[in-house]
Each structure stands twice: as structure tokens, then as C-alpha cells.
């Protein structure tokens, strides 16, 4: 008998006033009983609308049936056939706008908690699962992957499973990309990301860190080294600023810098040398997931007042509902319909206030969202000692500026064939934020997967001639 409860089985969380002082994971995950209960809410529909909402096509009803039957390892193996990073996706995917949005149960009540179940299965496997065995026969072909983020790791994993010898080149000292430097520990524990990366290494994927491609080696040199195809997954790592006065003041950070200092460089732990300003009052500018991450991180570093400053209304915020909800619970103050016009500093050049102007919503713009317009004379100041700019990122030009024949659009995004992820240069494929501009982990993974398939076809067809 299916469980006909109209609401999802709740997932336990740390209390808001406890968790906003630590970096432990906020959501604690389902117990075995909770998972079984939630799995029984799935109706196992014949036409599987949820699967069509998943960028990597996880066989959702199948794995959920296994959970309901108590066969967790079986469930894991089903997920693993299409998703190489289930523990990550179960935590950071925007399920509400993907698989869960298509769920039939969502028509009358809440959809099945697909993300929560995916996380449960992945965590179960990490704890109880037998180490995976790989006996893929090497096919003798070499592929290079640039960037060890979600797109690159997915592409590398899929190619390795097909027998390719894959080397991943990463600019930072740690593989993982945004999963390591961007998304905070309390949302995605780094130990989990590391386990997924270690599993890839077990599969035979070589990961070379400290390699800034485009500088230390060019794409041309990779071909000379015997790689038959190159995948570019360099992400969107260049932080945007507003170009308002005061962005050079001490205490103004890009969200990238602020989050990298805390997540990758572990400034929140005493044993690490990384310095960071621990502000009392912080303004975070932006309305996306990165803004929520930065605000909640600032709170955990001990800030008393953390403001989110966003120029539109809450309904227009690009952040996931769950993240907005969590931020509010943790005491983040939302200053909506406000736009910064200047940051003011003291004589030493340290931030002391942010000046904003009130906004109102006008006609819809190109994005379909109502355009914010400044209300004249409504300027006001908020005293803060730090400002974090979380208003988006652009793709990094290092690779495209050093690779001949690689076309990019006016935003600096690499141009690819939508179906094959092939760039304008033969043998070079690209996906993820480097192609789309800043988007989600799962879309990057979907692109990496597609590219792996195309790379395989490309190399196989070259050799069958």
C-alpha cells in the first residue's frame, strides 16, 4: 500500500539557533524508517515524469522501489548507472524545479522527497556499501579533462568507465571545483566530496592538481602529449563587481573570495593560517544561492547582523526556496527592493557603511522578471564592516585566450553544439558553467556526461576509418 500522506516525511535538521554558530551539516538526513516511509509515497508511475526532469536521467522510480523493499545497495547501483555524484546531488540539486516538479504526487500535496531519498541511498552506501570493483578493459586511448569540478569529474568518470585513460588537470591544490571552494561545509560536507573524488581515482582517473591550464600547458600541447580529445570544464570563476564607489575598501569581498577563504582554505578552523575578517555587521549583495551561502557563512563566523541586499522582491530571488527559508530561520535580515549605490569607508580604508537606494518594480524585462527602478531620493545607509558581492560570475578566459580555433560568445562562454558539446575546435569538447555561464551543479554534470558520450563516439569513429 502506498503511503498517501500529502506531505513529505520531514528530514531532521539542526536547530536554527544552534546551527548558525557551527559549520556542521544543517540537514541531518533520513533514518532507515523515514526513508522507507517516504519511499512508499512513490506511485511508481508508468510514464515516469520525474526522470524527464532530471538532467542526468536518474532512474528515479526504480531506485525508490528498491528503497521501499529495503535493498539499499540495489538502489545505489541503479542511481550510479547515470549519476556519478549521488551524495552531492542529493544535497545540492534544485529538485523542486527538476524531478520533484514533475512528480504526480505534487499535484495534490507535496511531491516525493526524491532528493532526500537519493541522499539517503548515497550516504547508506558510503557507510555500508562494499568497495566498488572495476575491471574495465583499458581501450588504449587517452583523454584530458581541464577542471576538476562537477562537469569535469562527471566526464572523467564516464570515460574511465568506458576504458579510457583519463587525466584531469586542476588549477587549485584540491580537486572538486565549486563543490570544494564554493558550497559551504554546512550544506555539503567536504569529506563527502572527497570520497566521491577518491572513488574516481579508484576507477583509474588521474588527477593532477596545481596545474593552471592555458598557462602551464596549452590545449595544443595536450594533443602533442598524445591525448586524443580534450574536455574543458573550467567553470564560471570570474567574480562580477557592481562598479560602484568603495569596492576597493578593506572588508569588501567577492563571494568567491569570502567563500574560498572559508571553504577551501578553512579560515574557520584555528589550525589553518588563512586570515579572514570576522565582521560584526555584514551586507551580502545578491539574491542567489551563493548570496545565501555567503550570508549564512558570515553568521557562522560570528556576525551579529547579516543583511541580504537584493534589488527585486523575494519572489524574484533566484535562490532555492529551501535556502531562503534556512537563511531566514538562522536570523539573516532581508533588505528587499534595495540596491547599493556606494560603500563608505573610514580613514584607514575600511568599510563602515553601505549606501542603498530603495527600488520599485516596473515592467517585465528581457528575463521576464519585473525590472527594478530606483526611487529617487530614497537613499539610506546601513552601518556594516564588511560587504560581500554575490552578483554572479563570468567564465574564466585563461583557456579560450590561449587556444586557437575556440569560439566564445560575447559573454565569454565557449560556443558548443548543444547536442554533442563539441566546440568549434576539432577534438575539443566543453560543458558546465564555462559554456552556460553560472548555472547549477547538476546541469554541469549533465553536460559532462553528454560530452563523454560524444568524445567516445569521436575517438571510436576516428579509429574505425
Amino acid at each position: 500500500m502506498p503511503n498517501m500522506s500529502p506531505v513529505k516525511t520531514p528530514m531532521p535538521e539542526q536547530e536554527p539557533n544552534v546551527r548558525n554558530k557551527n559549520f556542521e551539516e544543517v540537514a541531518l538526513g533520513y533514518t532507515d524508517e523515514m526513508a522507507a516511509e517516504e519511499a512508499k509515497r512513490c506511485l511508481n508511475c508508468k510514464n515516469k515524469p520525474c526522470v524527464s526532469g532530471c538532467p542526468v536521467g536518474v532512474r528515479i522510480p526504480e531506485f525508490i522501489q528498491r528503497v521501499a523493499e529495503g535493498d539499499m545497495e540495489g538502489a545505489y547501483q541503479i542511481i550510479k548507472t547515470t549519476n556519478s555524484l549521488p551524495a552531492v546531488c542529493g544535497r545540492v540539486c534544485p529538485q523542486e524545479s527538476q524531478c520533484e516538479q514533475k512528480c504526480v504526487r505534487g499535484i495534490k500535496g507535496e511531491p516525493v522527497g526524491i532528493g532526500r531519498l537519493e541522499r539517503y541511498v548515497a550516504d547508506w552506501h558510503m557507510k555500508h556499501g562494499a568497495p566498488e570493483k572495476f575491471d574495465v578493459k583499458p581501450n588504449g586511448h587517452k583523454v584530458a579533462v581541464i577542471g576538476a569540478g562537477p562537469a569535469g569529474l562527471t566526464c572523467a568518470g564516464d570515460l574511465a568507465a568506458m576504458g579510457y585513460s583519463v587525466t584531469v588537470y586542476e588549477a587549485l591544490h584540491t580537486a572538486g571545483g565549486v563543490l570544494m571552494y564554493g558550497i559551504p561545509q554546512f550544506r555539503l560536507p567536504k569529506e563527502i566530496v572527497q570520497k566521491e573524488i577518491d572513488a574516481l581515482k579508484e576507477k583509474g582517473v588521474k588527477i593532477e592538481t596545481d596545474m593552471v591550464m592555458g598557462k602551464v600547458l596549452s590545449v595544443d600541447e595536450l594533443f602533442e602529449m598524445g591525448f586524443e580529445a580534450v574536455f574543458i570544464g573550467t567553470g564560471a570563476g570570474l567574480p562580477n563587481f557592481m562598479n560602484i564607489p568603495g569596492e576597493g575598501l578593506i572588508g569588501t569581498y567577492s563571494a568567491n573570495e569570502f567563500l574560498t577563504r572559508v571553504n577551501l582554505m578553512k579560515a574557520y578552523l584555528d589550525e589553518y593560517d588563512t586570515p579572514i575578517i570576522r565582521p560584526k555587521n555584514v551586507a551580502v549583495v545578491g539574491g542567489g544561492n551563493v548570496a545565501m551561502d555567503a550570508a549564512r557563512t558570515a553568521k557562522r563566523l560570528g556576525a551579529e547582523n547579516v543583511y541580504i541586499i537584493y534589488r527585486r522582491a523575494e519572489e524574484q530571488m533566484p535562490a532555492r526556496k529551501e535556502e531562503i527559508h534556512h537563511a531566514k530561520e538562522e536570523g539573516i535580515i532581508f533588505k528587499l527592493l534595495c540596491n547599493p549605490v556606494a560603500i563608505h569607508g573610514d580613514d584607514d580604508g575600511r568599510v563602515k557603511a553601505i549606501e542603498c537606494v530603495e527600488m520599485e518594480l516596473g515592467e517585465p524585462d528581457a528575463s521576464g522578471r519585473r525590472r527594478p527602478i530606483a526611487k529617487e531620493g530614497s537613499n539610506f545607509e546601513i552601518p556594516v564592516d564588511s560587504v560581500v558581492m554575490a552578483i554572479g560570475n563570468s567564465p574564466n578566459p585563461l583557456i579560450r585566450s590561449t587556444t586557437e580555433g575556440l569560439e566564445a560568445n560575447s559573454h565569454g562562454c565557449i560556443v558548443v553544439d548543444d547536442a554533442t558539446m563539441a566546440t568549434t575546435r576539432e577534438g575539443v569538447y566543453a560543458a558546465g558553467d564555462a559554456v552556460s555561464g553560472a548555472a547549477t551543479v547538476i546541469l554541469a554534470m549533465g553536460g559532462g556526461k553528454e560530452a563523454a558520450r560524444s568524445i567516445d563516439e569521436y575517438i571510436q569513429s576516428k579509429h574505425s576509418k
Binding site: 588549477a171 587549485l172 591544490h173 571552494y181 592538481t209 596545481d210 596545474m211 593552471v212 598557462k215 602551464v216 600547458l217 570563476g237 570570474l238 567574480p239 563587481f241 562598479n243 569596492e247 576597493g248 575598501l249 578593506i250 569581498y253 567577492s254 568567491n256 573570495e257 574560498t260 577563504r261 582554505m265 589550525e271 589553518y272 593560517d273 588563512t274 586570515p275 575578517i277 584607514d348 580604508g349 574564466n396 578566459p397 585563461l398
Partner: protein
């Protein structure tokens, strides 16, 4: 891991290290930099490439012991290894086409100015090298600098080498005496580079400076190294580290360089205490 193949003490506070990094050695050019991290808990710090040997696959750095990270680096010896060593980063200095150049170095900056002088000299330009130090006993690379310049002028703040004054005084004298420079390269502390730029502005001589701000990744990702150049925001790591000195907002850069001043001082003090404890117990 990157092995240290040579360690040479230049003076009380400055040390040279040649590090095995074949990929970087193959590509490095004058003006570029590397980022290193001594151990898992350490910071990432940028250091300019002082020299490289493409055959041996080594990259030379020169560091001044100013804070915890450089003190930690200094604990390593030949045969030891540095955990992370990343580069070559930034753009190489564009030296093509200059005929008559003054290369000005201040203190540790001489270590970075020297390869520029060497490159220019090798390209056939006439090079005047002006090097400033606090006093005579901390002068470094004197022979090396002499070998790559037509004229080497060394000044000391305290006059202990017989030539008291600042590098600005020496440069002004050279210009007043008729040197017709088509380029001045100034590398050293921010206040020194600002003083040189103020001087060369008077004479309308193009001046290149090398910025070394706080940064994390060195690839354009964090934006921590941003500075204002000609009214626009630039990232030292990817747009520089060289900039037209007449366009740089030095006041802002000097303030930004002090972002973590107190934290750094405390970390250095603590580390020095621990080193002394260690020495006592040894």
C-alpha cells in the same frame, strides 16, 4: 610535492631557493609569478619568478622573511619539498622595443628587478640599474646586477655604503644629468614605487611597476588582488602583475595591503615563539 634543490642565504632576511618544477620552468618568463603553499594548513602566497632553468627544470624564487608563511618556508632545506607550487601566473613583462631603460629596485624588489634588467640587457638595451637598500650589509645580488647593467648605482638609506639617499634621488640625478630613458621599471615597496612614479610623471617617462597584492588562487577567481588602474578595476593576477605606474591608484593599494596586518603580526609573533621554544627544547 616540489623539491628544493638549492637554498642560498642572501642576507639576514632574504633567501634564494631553486625549486624543481619542470612544467613551470619550461614556460616561465620575466615578470611572471608563482603561488606556493608550504603545507596543508598554510596560506597560498604569490612570489615573483626570480630566475628559471629550462634544462634543469628549476624555478628560482627569492623571499624575504616577513611573516609566518615565509618563516615556515625558511625552515625547509635542500632536499625538502614544498607542498604546492603553481604557475607561471600573470603576464610576462613586455620589454620589446626599448632602447634605454632605468631599472629601479627597492630592497627585496631588487630580486625581481634583476631578471628584468637581465632580459633587457640580453636584448641589447642600455640598462641603468638603481638599487636601494636600508644599509650596506643587506645589499644582495651586487655582482649579478653589475653584470647585466651599463651602470649600477646602489644607494643606502643610512649611507653605510658611501652613497646615502633614496632611489628617487639617484634616478632624478641620472635624468638631470641627461639620461634619456624611454622606460623606467620600478619594483619594490608600494611607497617606493609611488615615489618613483611621481618623479617620472614630471619627466613624462613611461613607468612599469610590478604589483604583489594579497591573492588566493592567482587565476582571476577570488578578485582579492584587485586594484584601480586608470579608473578601472583590474586583477593583478591575470591583468598584471605589471601595470602602467602612472595609472595605478597607490593610495588604495597601500591601504588594501594592510587588510590582515594585525592578524599577520599576531601569527608571526606566535610562530616565532614556537620556533624559539623548539630551539630551546632541541
Amino acid at each position: 610535492m616540489f623539491k628544493i634543490v638549492e637554498k642560498r642565504i642572501l642576507n639576514d632576511s632574504m633567501t634564494l631557493m631553486a625549486v624543481e618544477a619542470p612544467y613551470i620552468a619550461k614556460k616561465a618568463k620575466a615578470g611572471q609569478f608563482i603561488i606556493l603553499r608550504v603545507n596543508e594548513f598554510g596560506e597560498r602566497i604569490p612570489l615573483t619568478v626570480a630566475d628559471y632553468d629550462r634544462e634543469k627544470g628549476t624555478v628560482t624564487i627569492i623571499y624575504q622573511k616577513v611573516g609566518k608563511t615565509t618563516l615556515m618556508l625558511d625552515q625547509l632545506n635542500e632536499g625538502d619539498a614544498i607542498l604546492d607550487f603553481i604557475g607561471p601566473l600573470g603576464k610576462a613583462t613586455e620589454l620589446e622595443g626599448y632602447k634605454n631603460v632605468a631599472v629601479v629596485g627597492g630592497g627585496a624588489g631588487c630580486a625581481i628587478a634583476y631578471p628584468q634588467a637581465k632580459a633587457l640587457h640580453g636584448m641589447g638595451a642600455k640598462v641603468d640599474m638603481i638599487a636601494g637598500f636600508r644599509s650596506k650589509d643587506i645589499i644582495i645580488l651586487e655582482e649579478e646586477m653589475k653584470a647585466v647593467s651599463d651602470r649600477l648605482i646602489i644607494t643606502t638609506d643610512d649611507g653605510s655604503n658611501g652613497n646615502k639617499g633614496f632611489v628617487t634621488d639617484a634616478l632624478r640625478k641620472c635624468i638631470e644629468e641627461g639620461a634619456k630613458y624611454d622606460l623606467v621599471i620600478a619594483i619594490g615597496p608600494l611607497v617606493m614605487m609611488r615615489a618613483i612614479c611621481n618623479l617620472t610623471k614630471e619627466y613624462n617617462i613611461k613607468t612599469l611597476i610590478s604589483m604583489n597584492p594579497i591573492m588566493i588562487d592567482g587565476t582571476g577567481m577570488c578578485g582579492g588582488c584587485r586594484l584601480t588602474v586608470g579608473g578601472k578595476t583590474k586583477f593583478a593576477c591575470v591583468d598584471g602583475p605589471d601595470f602602467d605606474g602612472h595609472e595605478v591608484d597607490f593610495d588604495e593599494a597601500i591601504k588594501r595591503s594592510k587588510t590582515y596586518f594585525d592578524l599577520e603580526k599576531e601569527a608571526t609573533r606566535e610562530y616565532n615563539c614556537r620556533l624559539m621554544e623548539g630551539a630551546k627544547n632541541a
